[in-house]
Each structure stands twice: as C-alpha cells, then as structure tokens.
Symmetry: C2
Subunit: 346 residues, 2 copies
C-alpha cells in the first residue's frame, strides 16, 4: 500500500482487457445483513456409491466409469456443444447467429471422492497438469477446434453440482470474446515493444513485491493490480510460453506445486473449502502463430468476508462495470499472513 | 422458433455490445443435482421496526428517515463513491489508476415494506419513474457527474440486503465500460444509417413478433435476440429518446405500466418474488450530444428452472463468454403463456 491512491476510491486499468475496475477501499466497514451461504466444509468419504464421477460407477448417460486410479477424462453427458450443427449461419437484418460446434469434456482430478486440489499430493496434481496438456493438444489438433477452454467450477456456490474433484474443458470452433479481448492487448504491446505484456508486468510486480503471493523457479502467483473478485489471483509462467503444451517435465511439476500452494492459502483464509472458478487462458488452436501471447491461469473466488459472505456482482457491476471493496494489496497481505500448511493438516 | 438454427447449438450476436452468446437449446434436459436457493416468497408486514428504509426509522449512519408517504431518495450511508478524492492519477509502468468520484443514492420505491414493483399500483410506480427522472437530471447537471447509473438489485439472490422495495443510483465522473461499448455500436450504426440502432431493431422485432412480451402506446417489452440470462428482458421506448428526462407525463405512466406488467409475469413464472437486477442505460451527462443513443431498461434475472434453481455464470462464462440453455424464443413463449394478474391477487 505504498501509494496514496490505494486509500481512496479509484479506478484501476486492466492491461489485458482494456477495462476499468472501480475500487472502494473505504467501504469495507459496511455492515452485511444480506444473504449468507452454507459453509462448504463437510467431510466426504473417499468413495461415494451415488457419485457419477467415482471409479466404477455408472453415469447419467448410461456409461460406466473405468476403475481409474489417477485422472480420467470423458465427454460430457450433457454437453453445451456438439460436434455436428446441421444448420447454416443466420443473418436477417439486425438478427445475426452462427452455427457453433465443439467438444465438452469432464476431467476427474482424482479417483478419491474426498479430495480437492489443495488436499492432493503434488505428484497427483502433476498428473492433472499432464492431462490438461494432453487434452489441449489433442482437442486443439482437430480441424474443427480452434479454441480450448480449460476450467474448474469449485464448490456449490460456483454452480458445481458434484463435489468429486473435477474440472471441465469446453473446446469449440470459434474464438470466445474474452480471448479476443486479451489477444488485442497482447498484440498491441508486442507490436510496440517486441516483448510480452504479461512478462513485463511480471517483472514489475516482482520488483514492487506488493501483490506477490508465492513463487518458484518457473511460476509466480500474484493478485493482479486490476483484480475484480476479492481474492482473485493469477499464476504466470516466468518463461514466455503461449500455451501449456510447451511445459517440460520440471515445469509441469512446478505448476502443480504453485497450484497447491495458492489453493491451500485459499482454504486457510476462512478455514473452508474455498469456492472459485479457475481457468487457463492460452492461444487459440487455429494453427496461427501468436508470439505475443503469454499463457496464465486465473482464479475468481467469490468469498469476501467469511466462509459464508460472498461478493455479489449485480446491479452496478452488470450495468456499469466491476466494483470491489478491499484492494488488491489488502488481499495479498491477508493471504500472505496465512500458514502454507492446510488447516486440516495442521 | 421459425428458424432451424434455434434448435441446434449456435452463437448469437449482441448488436449493442458486439459480443457473442453461446446458445445450447438441446441442453435443457440436463438433470440438476447442484445448489438450490431459498424460495423467496415469505409474506412481509407493511412496516418493520427494524428496517432501516421504513419511514421514521433510523439508519446505520445515524440519520432518521422522514415519514415519507410516496418515494424517498437519500445518499447511501456506505457509498462506493465519494465526492472528494484527494489523490492524483497514478501511472507507473504497467500499473495505471485514476481517482474516481461520485454520488451514490438509495431510492425507496414505497413506504410500504411489504411491496415490490409488481405489487405496487401503476400510479405509485409512476412516482418512482418521476423520481428516477428527477435524480437523473439533478445528479447529471452537476459538473463532476458525467454518468448516472439507475439500478435495482431485487432479492437476496441478487445481493440485496433489505427486502424493503428500493433501488440505487450510482453517479460518477467517468463513463463506465458497458456504456462505452454500447455507445460505439450506436454511433457506428447512426453514422451509416442515420437512424437508431435500437429503433430499427424494435421495428424488426415487432414485425417478427416472436420475442415480444407486452407493449403499449409508448413502450415495448421483449426478450432480446441475444439475451444472456434465462429470462432477460428489455423495455424499449418507441420514440427515439436518449434519456428518461425526455419522457412526458403520459409516457411516464406508460413506462410504469409496462414495468408492472413485465415484473408481474416474472413473479407468475415460478410463483415467487422473482429476483433480478435491472438497470437503465442512457446517455452520459457530460454535456455532449449523443443523437445515436436510444435509452432502454434491462432486466437480468438469474432463475432458470424453478424458484430455487438459478443459472450460474461461472467457469466457461467467466473465461470464454456467456452461455444459455433455453432460447430467447422459448423464454418469450413461457412468459407469454402466463396470466397478466399477479398470482397473489388471483
Ligand atoms: O449497495 P448494496 O445493496 O449494499 O450492495 C449490493 O449492490 C452493490 C451494487 O450493485 C454491489 O456492489 C454489492 O456487492 C451488492 O451486495
Ligand atoms: O457443466 P455443469 O457443471 O453442469 O454446469 C456448470 O458449469 C457450466 C460452465 O461454466 C455453466 O454453464 C453452468 O451454469 C454451471 O452450473
């Protein structure tokens, strides 16, 4: 909190999307009489006979899961995208639509129903990283797939309908809005400076050391200057890589390690299984070169004050733009004050 | 549902923001085992001694509400924006911030604690419209206020912490992201066609008559072709007005009438007090002319399947772009099949 501006209402600029975030540091004293959420810290069994993701169980679509022992990926039984769209694009005056195709997959992180990423061993998270890599490359190599979105919705608060540790991959023909936005800003910076926008930002953050959460030889986790969600964080590879396919063995493990560290801090913050949506932003798989891109993984967690009080992105945020109360620096301070050992293992 | 494309996965283009929405019409059959919300249909007293918005009660900031009998606006006791920001803009390499100032107000719609917009009389909603007009003009006439965002967060699900019927107004120095986006698209269309983008869209929708919900002499309510939220709707004035300050007496009442009709349909859909965030998008108040703009009011309601199951805008939606399951046409059909009389009054 070195600068005066952090103490008064201000707007911060997101260099990756070109959008502004309203920050109201004085507003944390606001009392909360609104909705509280259920605390998400029930203990689970390692195997649940009713879980459609546990090994050997049958799924809604009729299939049976193999007795997998590490990770397991399969095509979503209720996919938002299908490989066929037997329709033509539609253009009628001011109504405009396009056929869309794709493949949606579910990625089980572990056969153990009771785990989450922070509770898994580094070697087992490394298997998840390897699977993401494999899926990114396999799906991305298909002609009809031009973008692969890897993500996780963790916790009921984030619309996750099954607590078994898993994420998803939606891959599709067109390149989504958020990627187009970031591409534009990476490209502009690259054309002007011939260096990575996120790489240069990372250098600056490492020097300032105000928003850094944790780092290892290959990755840094930090609260971005323009964070929207209260404890939003970003994992950035030190090397200027465009996609996770470029990670070598050692880097895969370093990625797993930093994911474990960050999510452990998250769980420790309110001593709860911290809900979030996370996602990896990387280059489209349309065969074009994107030397300007720098892949990164972001975490958008909704909790604000406790395990049961979240930040609502509603009226003002939907109609004007995002707003936050605690600053990115406060968020980093709060997380950095916590133990690196998971509270359930202390 | 006249076109084939509506039956298969497709993307629709939002002419106002330039962004795409993924539509998965085949996906409504997906079972839901995830989070359910509390049904929000408890009956309330007309006066609650503990409510900080009821007439005569005292507020958290120490003030006492007058014994208001119609509507009542006051400055938020915990505002996100303040009139003073004793700081300079901040520009340090890739970190960029600006001081931001503004005024945040709370607008009580009625002294009666038990009401909501659909349960209020048209004449009383007309008073709300008049107050919005007055606030838009008064706040907007200040030198330091260049944009006025009128909105309502309705229901605990939308982060509303007090069920007393009320909305908010956040007004500020800078022009928010969502307004800049729409301005660009209004302007491009105006430069090419010398007519209102939304006016021309409205004409097309009235001819097609597939997504129209209700209309009167001065306003039309419809599900926009590019709707994101399951039952998202938009109220558009037939006249090409830039802001609500231009409404005459008769139009104020027509606006109140269509708000009542739309929100009554909403409540009837799942026989619950339907949660939503609504907002009015209109021209900035920086003194510039925006002949291309066409004001409108939008409703973003989260409920999808029932009074307790909402749509989650999470992983894919946050990292790639919005996705919906039911089509805009299905949403219009479902709403149009309902009675125009509120279920509590039938
Ligand atoms: O101002 P309120 O009602 O306390 O707060 C509500 O609306 C605000 C404006 O959309 C949001 O920033 C808050 O997250 C929400 O809880
Ligand atoms: O695919 P799931 O887990 O059934 O569904 C969840 O994630 C999807 C992708 O972010 C969202 O569209 C859904 O709203 C959410 O409930």
């Amino acid at each position: 909190m070195s600068t005066e501006i952090n103490k008064h209402p201000h707007r911060r600029y997101n260099i990756l999307t070109g959008e502004w975030i309203l920050v109201s540091p004085h507003r944390t004293k606001r009392p909360w009489q609104g909705k509280t959420e259920k605390n998400n810290n029930e203990k689970r069994e390692t195997y649940d006979p009713k879980c459609y993701l546990c090994p050997g169980n049958s799924r809604a679509g009729g299939e049976t899961n193999p007795n997998y022992t590490e990770t397991y990926a399969f095509e979503n039984d209720f996919p938002a995208l299908l490989t066929e769209a037997p329709i033509k694009d539609f253009d009628n005056g001011l109504l405009k639509a396009e056929a869309e195709t794709g493949i949606c997959k579910v990625v089980c992180f572990s056969p153990d129903h009771s785990l989450t990423l922070p509770l898994m061993e580094v070697d087992d998270i490394t298997e998840v990283v390897k699977l993401w890599k494999k899926e990114y490359q396999e799906l991305g190599s298909k002609d009809a797939i031009n973008y692969v979105q890897i993500f996780e919705n963790k916790g009921a608060m984030m619309g996750c309908s099954n607590p078994h540790p898993h994420g998803q991959i939606w891959s599709q023909k067109s390149i989504p809005t958020e990627i187009l936005k970031k591409s534009r800003h990476f490209k502009n910076y690259w054309d002007e400076n011939k260096s990575s926008l996120l790489g240069d930002y990372l250098k600056q953050e490492l020097e300032l050391n105000e928003r850094i959460l944790t780092k290892n030889e290959h990755f840094v986790a930090l609260i971005p200057y323009w964070a929207v969600w209260p404890y939003e964080a970003m994992i950035i590879p030190r090397k200027h890589y465009q996609h996770i396919g470029q990670l070598n063995k050692e880097e895969e493990k370093a990625f797993a390690k930093i994911i474990k560290k960050l999510t452990t801090k998250y769980d420790n913050l309110f001593e709860t299984s911290f809900p979030y949506s996370s996602g990896i932003h990387q280059i489209p798989t349309n065969g074009e070169d994107y030397p300007e891109w720098h892949f990164h993984m972001s975490f958008y967690p909704p909790l604000l004050r406790s395990a049961t009080v979240k930040k609502f992105m509603v009226g003002y945020e939907m109609f004007a733009g995002p707003q936050r109360d605690i600053t990115a620096e406060q968020a980093a301070q709060n997380l950095n004050a916590l133990s690196e050992t998971h509270y359930l293992k202390q």
